[in-house]
Point group: C2
DNA sequence: TCGTCAATGTTGTCGCTGTCAACATCAGTC
DNA sequence: GACTGATGTTGACAGCGACAACATTGACGA
């Protein structure tokens, strides 16, 4: 544990973490397809094939990187909720929180496009997306965070309870779709002001429709 | 045209189309990453590198395949509109048409997941998505088809005109997001009944919010 | 009729990748 | 102090995209 990378002789000591960090760097710069075993090994200062002692194959490394990306998404969503002023009436607070996690989702996608694409490169299950290993500080994934907001809206009476079943699909599809369209799709060249406009329209439309 | 693949001697004659067809087959089965120059060349019964006489590189072939996929999406959307009974009042017709193209979008994504992913593999511009080469029978792309539906909703008075600006973002993000979540995302294992439920919730929520 | 030439397809090669097999080194443990 | 399992290295192979050099063909003009 005391050995730094420079003094290591034969065994790296923390190769798994080093490969993960390298993979995160590659993903951040150029997306999931850039998470390449040999590149990660080079970045970790280790020969190709060393990675096979810690990951069965490239896909397993990519999966690990994905979980990290998903976790960072969840962390940002939580942070944006926590940053909200809480001293308002419950209904307004509930709406503001839904708005905040929606904005956080799109913010993550546009400020970290490589990580966002990587988070969904290996299709996560609902479990891993919601409660699995790739989660935020509170132990909740993006899906669970969204569900909590929708529950809150029903509790405070802002949304009729008969609208609750499946409401995740609507809210989540909207922000996820906007994120991918802005990121990889036909909206990628949209100027910043128009992006903000699109985000507001999407969030407001969903809020009205709930 | 009379020459089949078996009688050709040295020159293929229609290699460009053959490569495109092969690429579409590869994309259909395994998505954009399966559109591989050498595989397409093999399928066309031609040696690797022959493709370079018709496409500058792999990306150009993939781009051509993308356009085909986008076109097929537009064609399905048009077909689903045309199949609608038109003998109703204008407001109901306008809503039904919006619903139909939304369903068609998700239908394409779930019945042809490889093609759907390929359509967005090389980020299309708004122009190509709306009016460019990858378009349907009427000459309109998916984006233009959606815009026409929203215009119609305003014309018949179903949607207030102050809601019109940016309405594409909301409608399009919702169906696109649901499509990708069902296709590659955490919803890919959803049973058919739940998929239908999710689709209805998404479409209804957007319609209410417009 | 014949030669020329541009278009088109082929063969060979290179570097990159993932992956398997064989070997080397090290940290503990009996 | 030797054994052993964990970890890292070297070497190899096939598949890929891309470049260069070469082969074949059909069309067109002398």
């Amino acid at each position: 544990m005391s050995a730094t990378a420079s003094e290591r002789s034969y065994h790296h000591g923390r190769l798994r973490e080093a490969l993960l960090v390298a993979g995160l760097g590659l993903a951040r710069a150029d997306g999931p397809e850039a998470v390449v075993l040999r590149a990660a090994s080079r970045a970790a200062g280790v020969s190709h094939n060393a990675a096979y002692r810690h990951f069965a194959d490239r896909d397993e490394l990519l999966r690990a990187v994905c979980e990290q990306c998903m976790s960072r998404l969840a962390v940002l969503m939580e942070a944006r909720i926590d940053a909200l002023p809480a001293d308002r009436d419950p209904v307004a607070t509930a709406w503001a929180r839904l708005d905040a996690i929606g904005r956080a989702y799109v913010e993550f996608a546009t400020t970290e496009p490589g990580w966002f694409r990587t988070a969904f490169a290996v299709p996560p299950t609902l479990d891993s997306f919601g409660l699995g290993e790739g989660v935020g500080a509170s132990g909740l994934g993006p899906y669970a965070l969204l569900s909590a907001r929708l529950d809150e809206l029903v509790e405070v009476g802002a949304v009729p309870s008969e609208r609750r079943p499946g409401a995740e699909y609507a809210a989540w599809s909207a922000v996820h779709g906007l994120s991918t369209l802005l990121n990889d799709g036909p909206l990628r060249d949209l100027p910043a002001i128009e992006r903000e406009h699109a985000l507001r329209v999407v969030l407001d439309t969903v809020a009205r429709g709930l």
